[in-house]
Symmetry: C2
Subunit: 219 residues, 2 copies
Amino acid sequence: MKASTGVEHPHIILQDLVSSRLSPSLMDIKIGARTWAPEASEEYITKCLKKDRQSTSVSLGYRLSGLRVFIGDELGFYKPERDVMRKAGPDDVRLFLMKFVSSNLESELESGSESESKPDCSLAASVYGGENGILSQLLELKAWFEDQTMYHFYACSLLFMFEKGLTSNPEVKLIDFAHVEEGKGVIDHNFLGGLCSLIKFISEILSDTNDLKNGLIEP
Amino acid sequence: MKASTGVEHPHIILQDLVSSRLSPSLMDIKIGARTWAPEASEEYITKCLKKDRQSTSVSLGYRLSGLRVFIGDELGFYKPERDVMRKAGPDDVRLFLMKFVSSNLESELESGSESESKPDCSLAASVYGGENGILSQLLELKAWFEDQTMYHFYACSLLFMFEKGLTSNPEVKLIDFAHVEEGKGVIDHNFLGGLCSLIKFISEILSDTNDLKNGLIEP
């Protein structure tokens, strides 16, 4: 492909993933207990390792780096403070994953702080569940990561997207390729482990929601 | 259970895993890119991290910590030097996994150093393959690790065992529980990632052996 100068250059084509969506709810999850490649500089490794240990990267195998949930045209978005997300522990992360698919977040906006009321997970079945849902897409990605040995994705994120409405059209995209390394014949066990851990949390939210619907557990 | 003093005490029952075997071939593989628990002391973490980075733990998600392969009553065992194992890179580890199921290791003994000749993997199908083979047992273990959130196994090993003969009776055991921590509702993504990486290598050795047998690839 020719650059504007007329010279042939390899190009990276960027895609605006949310351009086709009106008011998408978004979650950005950085996958992997380790965000540094083995070949990185000592300085960079020390910096990353500190963040990995302070966040849930080491404990959960992933950490939240962005979240906004559409509530309504008037109220806009629920969007937790950056600081709240950074300090989130494993239980907080589980709660954020529940809030992402909940419709009772108005109180979060009013109080201005994280609410005590339990997220209702009313959209869990349509966003996380179903044959085109996020869980199904994650399982497809998992099968690929169990086999592919071309790339290792460090500090990459999974972006979850959906829109409130009749067809929520949930979608998962792999984003942020600044630290992709060659796999050299080895699977990306670091990404895969974190992905499996995320799949487990989302499966649990889905099955808890089903049990609640079927009256098997108390709200 | 009562101790020798007559007082009730919780007991750990130890099992000698190889007592029923005559000349078992053994491989000890420490699983997990990270051998330290998040709660460990800084000193311990620094020590472990250094070893994890120097060995294949970080790159492969596991490292070899012991290997002996029975050759015959007269020649005894092929047993690489501790130092050779410690310095092994990913390609060396793949070679050791091949040697474990090979019958042409005599030259290794004679030369006293690692041989140039390619391991024949003549026992791959009967030890790694088959419905009771090591790969099948690893896949069963993987399914358990994808779900269980009770324990996190740090610096634990998988022990592979088999005997040369009509029934090689291959077996996989999880050993060395000195650093097991509570899982607190999270899967052991660190162990699982390494396990998947090991499964990939063993699957490749098996399929290469099959292709060789079927004339699809050159020796």
